[in-house]
Symmetry: C2
Amino acid sequence: MKERARVVRADLHAVLAAGFVCHLGLNVDGTVMVIPTNYGATEETLYFHGSVASRSLVNSPDQTVCVTVTHVDGLVLARSVMEHSMNYRSAMIYGVPRLVTDPEEKFDALRVITEQCAPGQWDYARRPNRKELAATSVLALSLDEASVKIRTGPPDDGDTPDAELGLWAGVVPVAPAWGAPVTDPVLPTGFAVPAHVTAMTDR
Amino acid sequence: MKERARVVRADLHAVLAAGFVCHLGLNVDGTVMVIPTNYGATEETLYFHGSVASRSLVNSPDQTVCVTVTHVDGLVLARSVMEHSMNYRSAMIYGVPRLVTDPEEKFDALRVITEQCAPGQWDYARRPNRKELAATSVLALSLDEASVKIRTGPPDDGDTPDAELGLWAGVVPVAPAWGAPVTDPVLPTGFAVPAHVTAMTDR
């Protein structure tokens, strides 16, 4: 069981490391709301901006939220419509978000969120000043209660009577592809794109 | 207001048409759960398999759920870390799911879900028989209560004092890219990939 738990933990970190957008589910005035938002993950903690969720979390503090991160890896096309599926990696994290109040932790959390989206930007762009830091709310969610689901491989009906239909079956892979950076039109033509931005497109 | 509502409606259909995975938020024994699942959309209705959500929706029927569909279009890299953002299109739909009981509607809903993921597969693969249809639960969600959020364009700090920092700023676009279909290894080498499957990779 300990071995299995370790494996799941490695899967969790791999799924979180592969993305930067999560879907945050929370209760807003008695109704479930699912909000897409950026996140940053450390070994133990998932950080996200409180802004999107702040009203709700102020109104209903100490509520357990659910954060889901999903990567779609392919369509699984089977012989039978009912066996159609998706290859994917998905992590679900449950917990009561903690409002980050310590300025040092908040500063570091913003670094983690920024670097998760855009590696290298924390060292390149202007970092938050004290006033901006104070005006921003950041939430922390422990990674203690999490589960991971992963599906890989071909369709499941290759050894069923449907295999005799003689139909093609297989997987159509899909993955995010980065395009060439588009320079802000207010900048002069030919303004050089920094190396760390070009590197982002190779992810 | 009517004109605006029409525009939002067109945006909603465009966002739904551009994807096939949603994040379904619902209440499970008092806790919010966010489940990634496939969907299919018609003009008025979003359909999804009930299987993933069935236990929860049986335990807590008549609950309002939230379905969110998100497409990430790019990273918005600003001069200031606090101005970093994402270009995205996101739709949120609220409603009480209706269990589809009419066999004809259920059959058609499965067609809609299948075609949303994999156009052409409904006519190619084996369709559900009466027994499979009876064993499957499908949920319908009205598109009446929905909102759409879209962000496009360059960073917002091109006309702020931060512009004088002389930093590069802009957008790094991202979009799903389809790979070459991978034939089920149990099929003979060289088994031809059908044209409608090859066409899926051009989306």
